[in-house]
């Protein structure tokens, strides 16, 4: 009988503690899962990259030998160079095209909603679909080349996908087709956020329209450009499905990217050590972009 009062006295504290614990309790599984499956496996991949692992992981450490092999591997350099070409062109063209489309759409034209949807919809497709469609379009015997030739231009040639030197640019075409609409939407939102009075003031000062866009609007859009670059850079580095669907890495391995290189070596060719080393270098590449981004984000928050 004497227990009852003590229990009632404790109850508010208990529920108070529950209140305090509940968020942690709910978050705990997801924190544990991401600690284990993301950071744990990152660490494990690093450990594996220091071993001579072949078909299954082994713990025979060889220092940075796998990295040395990777550096000596010609295919890795093809993949890295491809990423540079693909990433740069993809980001730049998407930005320019997206900004241009957004400015044109911003001219208070009719049916803007419908046009916006037309440009934005490619983003709703998966890269696999984009890849397959463009594979057919670019195939010299089925697609654009065959079509133009059937119109009577017999000497028309557009066989980039067959040409090892040009095939990487077909990846750019397909990826730009898919992502530029999305960049356009970002820019359009940015444009709509600019105060009209600034533009009116510039017009009063007699500035031409291109000049207004270049000198007044673009500087206001800097944050948009920044986030667009971040998003596009991630898409570029992680590109895997597009390559698999569009070119399969070919002709030869002319369109290999680090992600496809990693997959092929780690999972198909029983070279887990080498694959892990290439995965670590890719992680390094992502971090090189991510850290400055996080740094500037955190700094601006502090100032804000």
């Amino acid at each position: 009988m004497s227990e009852t009062p003590t229990r009632t006295a404790l109850r508010p504290t208990a529920s108070g503690r529950l209140q305090a614990w509940l968020p942690r309790l709910v978050l705990a599984p997801s924190v544990a899962v991401s600690l284990f499956f993301v950071y744990g496996f990152m660490l494990w991949t690093f450990v594996l990259s220091l071993t001579s692992s072949r078909m299954l992981p082994s713990y025979d450490f060889v220092g940075f030998g796998q990295y040395a092999r990777l550096m000596a591997n010609e295919r890795w350099w093809v993949a890295s160079t491809n990423l540079m070409i693909f990433g740069t062109l993809f980001i730049v063209i998407c930005l320019v095209l997206g900004a241009l489309l957004a400015m044109l759409l911003d001219q208070k034209i009719r049916q803007e909603g419908a046009l916006r949807t037309v440009y934005l919809y490619p983003m709703a497709l998966s890269f696999i679909v984009t890849g397959v469609v463009w594979k057919w379009l670019l195939n010299p015997q089925l697609g654009i080349q065959a079509m133009v030739r059937s119109w009577g231009f017999e000497s028309f040639e557009f066989d980039w996908i067959v040409d090892p030197d040009m095939a990487i640019y077909t990846l750019v075409i397909a990826a730009v087709w898919q992502a530029s609409g999305f960049v356009m939407a970002l820019f359009l939102a940015g444009l709509r956020g600019i105060d009209d009075s600034i533009i009116k003031a510039a017009q009063l000062d007699g500035a031409s329209l291109p000049r207004i866009y270049w000198r007044v609007v673009m500087p206001c859009l800097r944050p948009v450009v920044f986030s667009a670059v971040m998003i596009l850079a991630h898409i570029a580095i992680k590109s895997f499905d597009l390559v698999v669907a569009l070119t399969g890495g070919g002709p030869g391995y002319a369109t290999d990217l680090p992600a496809t290189f990693m997959y092929t070596h780690a999972f198909n060719r029983a070279q887990i050590g080498l694959g892990s080393a290439s995965a670590m270098l890719m992680l390094g590449g992502v971090l090189a972009i991510l850290i400055p981004y996080l740094y500037s984000e955190l700094r601006s928050r502090k100032h804000g």
Binding site: A28, A32, F36, R69, Q141, V162, G248, R269, Q271
Partner: protein, 426 residues
């Protein structure tokens, strides 16, 4: 109450998160079941696998099907690796070629000597096939079939329209190709995927330089052979074949290329005998509606690609017994015949009656027996029978890069083959 429960709850949540991965993999196989991981998933193959299942059940053992789709078995291998890593491999898995040795080195395979002795496998199987099935002198795997890779397929109507015969040498193939092109067809149907490039490459090496050289270069990886003049000559012949192909080939699947021959768009295709499945499915008869012959210059050679089931080490006696029964059944005539009729290949034991098979398979079997005696039987490099996956991959890279790069000289490709063989593994 609450306070007491909290730690336990947290612990179990963590345990749950950690266990999620392993729990999924924990199988439910009973002692007298065999769980078989395979990628015989296409229509005919699945029916053939079913024959094995029925045979096993007739002996009183259960068959647990573990089919992982995906043509080359790459997905299946990934699944197998994760099962093996979690310490719970299936009792039998479709593993082939030198990979059997790799699994053997990991100490995961159980031996089948008991069955092999009782059934006389040593006398039944050609020595070179038996060698692949053994690790460290012990039988660890059992062959299900033998595919021949060095085949040339042809559409007789196209050949007739161009006025050419089935070529028996590479020079004849080039000449016939020119005639076919002039008649308005694609001479050689091909798909520009690295394994298809390699399939054609090994047939050309064999046809241009012979079995002994093939063995030295692509099986033993002798640097002198890989970088020598003979290899340069073979590489040049290989590149010349490109002129016989159409420009729509990049990324094309092999069965689409076969369809080009079936539809009379193209004259020839160099492909293994699984292509026969496509001809058969189109309702064509071997020898009449389509022709088969050894790849030009290789009538005295036979590049084989053997599917086999390897048995994993098990501790339970009843399970081992079931495994042994499975191994025995795989080599028995009932399964060998049913399976190979469905798959387009030939039985792994040369003593079977071939009257049920079509003329191509009969020729294949005759050549198999003949070349086994005359040292013409060689493992297929392109299909993972000759060298390990890493070396094979590195050779693929060189071959496909050379084939697609108009500017790379054959000498450079040969040098790259040497370094590919050297640096592919630690």
């Amino acid at each position: 109450m609450l306070m007491k429960q909290l730690p336990t709850f947290k612990k179990s949540a963590l345990a749950l998160a950690l266990a999620a991965g392993t729990a999924m993999a924990a199988g439910t196989s009973q002692a007298s079941d065999v769980e078989v991981l395979h990628w015989w998933t296409s229509g005919g193959e699945a029916r053939a696998a079913n024959v094995l299942k029925e045979l096993l059940e007739a002996e009183g053992y259960g068959w647990q099907d573990f089919a992982v789709a995906g043509g080359g078995g790459e997905t299946a291998m990934t699944v197998l690796k994760s099962r093996a890593m979690s310490g719970n491999p299936p009792s039998a898995a479709q593993i082939k070629g030198p990979e059997i040795q790799e699994w053997g080195e990991l100490g995961l395979l159980g031996d089948l000597n008991e069955v092999a002795d009782a059934e006389g496998w040593n006398d039944l199987l050609p020595e070179i096939v038996a060698d692949i099935m053994r690790y460290d002198g012990q039988y660890v795997a059992v062959p299900a079939n033998v595919h021949r890779v060095n085949w040339l397929w042809a559409n007789p109507d196209v050949l007739e329209a161009a006025g050419v015969d089935m070529p028996t040498t590479l020079d004849e193939l080039f000449a016939a190709g020119e005639a076919i092109r002039e008649a308005g067809f694609v001479p050689l149907a091909h798909g520009g995927q690295s394994w298809q490039d390699a399939t054609v490459f090994e047939s050309v090496v064999l046809g241009s330089q012979g079995t002994e050289f093939y063995q030295q270069a692509l099986v033993e990886l002798d640097p002198e052979a890989l970088g020598g003049e003979q290899m340069v000559a073979a590489l040049e012949d290989f590149k010349r074949l490109r002129e016989l192909m159409d420009e729509g080939m990049p990324g094309r699947d092999w069965n689409i290329a076969t369809a080009m021959v079936i539809e009379g768009v193209a004259g020839f295709q160099l492909m293994g005998d699984w292509a026969k499945g496509e001809f058969t499915a189109a309702g064509l008869t071997a020898g009449e509606d389509y022709l088969c012959a050894a790849a030009p210059g290789t009538e005295d050679a036979f590049t084989f690609n053997i599917d086999s089931l390897a048995m994993f080490r098990v501790t339970d006696d009843a399970e081992r017994e079931a495994q042994h029964t499975l191994a025995r059944l795989v080599l028995e005539p009932t399964f060998q015949e049913a399976f190979n009729l469905a798959k387009g290949s030939i039985p792994a034991r040369p003593d079977l009656d071939m009257s049920e098979f079509d003329s191509c398979a009969q020729q294949s079997m005759a050549d198999f027996q003949r070349t086994a005696e005359e040292d013409g039987l060689v493992p297929s490099m392109a299909h993972g029978m000759a060298v390990r996956a890493d070396v094979q991959g590195a050779i693929f890279d060189v071959v496909t890069n050379y084939f697609n790069d108009a500017d790379m000289p054959a000498e450079e490709a040969a040098q790259r083959l040497v370094s590919a063989a050297e640096t592919a593994s630690f």
